[in-house]
Each structure stands twice: as C-alpha cells, then as structure tokens.
Amino acid sequence: MSWKEKLQRFQELVNEFYEGRHRGALAREKREEDDLFMLLVFSEMMGVPNPASYYTLELLPILYDEFHEWHTRMGMDKSPLEHFRCC
C-alpha cells in the first residue's frame, strides 16, 4: 500500500465513522416517526379518540407487519391490543 492509498483508506474510515453515526441517528428518527404514525392510526383502539379512525382503517393491512415488529421490539411477545392480534 502506497502512502497515497493509505491516506485514502484512512479518509474512508473517517467518513464511514462520521456517516455511520448519522445513519444510525437518522434511522432511529425515522423509526420513531413511523412508530408515532402507526400509533396514531391505532389510537382509537388504544382508547384515544381519533376523528379519522374510520378513514385510516384501510391503512391497517399496510401497517400490519410494522405493528408486529413494533410490539416485539417494545418487549411485548403478544399484541397489546385486545382487538388487534397479529401473532
């Protein structure tokens, strides 16, 4: 490896370190945004009145696996909603 290649490699590692941190932060933020969205769609089932619940019902099938992923990530083996079971 020439000094030029070594320098390039070093630069890549620095970039990777820097971007990796941001990637993690961004991914976390996206996940939180998605969780919030899902909870809003499910809000009526959790006892929070939602004027749009009838209209967002059609989103349930799309969010189905996201919901499963959410409750397992939150440390709940089974769906916490009595009226909405996924596993």
């Binding site: 890549e12 970039n15 990777e16 971007e19 990796g20 941001h22 990637r23 961004l26 991914a27 933020e29 996206k30 945004e33 998605d34 919030l36 969205f37 809003l40 769609v41 009526e44 939602n50 004027p51 749009a52 619940s53 009838y54 209209y55 967002t56 019902l57 059609e58 989103l59 349930l60 099938p61 799309i62 969010l63 189905y64 696996d65 996201e66 009226h83 909405f84 079971r85 996924c86």
Partner: protein, 358 residues
C-alpha cells in the same frame, strides 16, 4: 354583496330543526328546477328518509330518475360502511394467517358498531356527491338531517383535513429520513465495491451515479409501503379538501335554513346561523314555513296569531338580512306534485336575480 340567484348555485343545502319542512322545501325547489328543464339531483341524508314518501316512489341508496330531469337518492350510510369494511377485510386477509381471520372479522364488527363510523361514511358519500354531482347534474340539493347533525357534517372536513395533514407530514418526514439513510448506505455500498470500480478521471460521471441512488431508493420495498400509505391518505385528503372548498364558495354552494314561527326553531336557527357564519359557509336565505294565513281564523287561531306576530317580528329582527321568504299554512298538508308546485310558487323569490348572500 350581490350574488347569482339560487338556481345557478350547483350545490344547495336545506337545513333546519326536525319537522319544520326541510324535505318539503328541498323537494319543491327540486321539482321547480326540474320542470324548468334543469337536471337535478335531490339527496336525502336523514337516516329516517321521507323523500320517497313525498314523491310517492321508493328511492333507496342509488340515484334514480323519479320524474323527467329529477333524480333522487336516499343515502344509506349502513350499506356504505358495510361495503368499505368488506374491502378492508379482503385486503387484510391477504396479509395475515388464516387462523387470524376470525379475529379480523371480530375487529371489523366492532368498528361497524363504533359511533363515528356511520357518520364518517355519510360524510364521505356527501363529499363524493358534491364532486361527482357537479359534473353530472345542473344542481345537487341536499335535504339534510336536523341542524345539529348537519353542522357537524359541515365542520368535519376541517377537522379531518387537519388530522390528515398531520399524518401526511409525519409520512413526509419519515420518507425523507428514509431517503437520507438509504443515501448514506448507498455511498457505503459504492465504496465497499458493490458498484463497478472507477478509473481515474471518471469523476464527472459521479453525478450520474447519484441519480441512480435515487432510483434505487425509489424502488426499495420499504418505500412501496410508504407510497401506498401516502396514496391512501392523499386520496382522502383530496376528497375532503375539495368538498370543503366547494362548501365555502358562495358561487357554488348555498345554504337555506327552514324554520317555523315558534320559539324553539327560532333559537336553533340562531345557533345555526352563528355557526355557519363562523365557518364562513354562505347562507343564501331562509324559509319561514307554516305562517298563519291572512284570512280570519276564529278565536282559537287568532290568539295563536297574536303570539305568532311576536315570533315573526323576532325573525325579522334576527334574520332580516337573510330576507326570509314566507310560506303560509296551507289548507291541506303537502302531498304529491300539485302540493309541491304550490309550495314552489312561494319560493319564487329565490330565483330572482337580486337576491343577496350573506
């Protein structure tokens, strides 16, 4: 502020307290316009429909031509809810194990029973009719349920649009965060050798590569879900914001309040006018129904008349700017086409070009 006469508005709402003659007024206006060679749709939104009874035909949940140029529809929100839930249920079944089917059925049944569902379905159908009706008819006349209900139907689009906007904003943020993550990962992939190695001097082609990241991102499976959610939300939002825009446009929509010269209908109309004005819904006029006729009536009715005069004075004081139109108490209750034509003659002032809207 002078506006086009009522005939030229594409959407009319007839509202008021129960039993004051909303359906009669709506039907008379519809018949009059249809007999003037305009294609009219009259829609009943009250769950206890009486539109069919007044024309002596059965109408139901489908638009039906009951007289030349006159179409009628009695919205059945329950059937609307059923159809919608059946659709959701069918999609749902594609996503879950068969063992869960009964769970889904149970949940859909609960939603059916939830208090907002029927109202939400009615609301949606009205919004659709305001859009489609404008295209297929010269005028759509809504005979609405008692005032309280109607006011809610009128203000709901605003609440709904705010809610949908909130959800869409969340989606936007999530999508752009997702793109940023994908972009960073894409850069890493490229560096670690997934993309073809670059020769020196190929710097200029990097821009092309950057575009290909975006294309890649657009087709990723996570995005497919985001796209579906966004489309569903946007379609709803569009329907509601259009309905709202039409509702508030005085060149398209007019609201007519019906009341009788008695205490409770006057009080309720006052509340209705306040709320409608607060939401800037154009009120085009008022019908004072069942006013005692001028001829001598005998002791009993004369004493009622002296009280009625107070109420009429109140109506004039409260709603004078709406230019109330009076319909006298008729010898027989309104039944059949002749009766409706008689009522329509008293509603003639609505067609005069000088009427103002407040």
């Amino acid at each position: 502020m002078s506006r086009s006469p009522l005939d030229e508005r594409e959407i009319l709402f007839v509202g008021g307290k129960g039993g004051v003659g909303k359906t009669t007024t709506a039907s008379a206006l519809a018949l009059q316009a249809a007999e003037r060679n305009r294609k009219i749709l009259v829609v009943s939104t009250d769950p206890a429909h009486s539109l069919g009874d007044i024309f002596d035909v059965s109408i139901g949940n489908r638009e039906r031509e009951i007289l030349p140029n006159l179409w009628a529809l009695e919205i059945d929100p329950d059937r609307q809810v059923d159809a919608y839930l059946a659709g959701v249920k069918a999609t749902m079944r594609e996503f879950v194990r068969p063992a869960m089917f009964s769970e889904i059925d149970r949940q859909m049944e609960l939603t059916r029973q939830s208090p907002g569902a029927v109202e939400a379905a009615l609301m949606e159908r009205m919004a659709q009719l305001m859009e489609e009706g404008r295209r297929s008819y010269d005028q759509v006349i809504f005979d609405t349920a008692p005032t309280g209900h109607t006011l809610r139907l009128l203000t709901l689009p605003e609440i709904m649009a705010a809610w949908m906007d909130g959800l869409l904003k969340g989606r936007d943020r999530s999508d752009s965060l997702g793109r940023a993550v994908e972009r960073l990962s894409g850069r890493r992939r490229e560096r670690s050798g997934d993309s073809p190695p670059k020769e020196e001097g190929e710097e200029s082609e990097r821009t092309g590569d950057e575009l290909s990241w975006f294309q890649q991102v657009d087709e990723s499976p996570g995005d497919e879900r985001g796209r579906k959610i966004r489309e569903a939300l946007l379609a709803r939002r569009r329907t509601f914001s259009r309905a709202r825009r039409h509702l508030l446009d005085p060149d398209i929509t007019a609201f007519i309040l019906v009341l009788i010269p008695e205490k409770l209908p006057i009080l309720e109309s006052r509340k209705a006018v306040d709320v409608l004005r607060k939401h800037r819904v154009p009120i085009a006029g008022m019908v004072v129904n069942r006013v005692l006729p001028g001829e001598s009536l005998g002791d009993f009715l004369e004493s009622r008349r002296s009280q009625e005069e107070e109420y009429l004075a109140q109506i004039e004081a409260l709603f004078g700017d709406l230019d109330p139109v009076r319909i006298p108490l008729l010898r027989r209750d309104v039944d059949g086409l002749e009766g409706l034509r008689e009522v329509a003659r008293y509603l003639e002032p609505f067609s005069s070009p000088s009427r103002a809207t407040s």
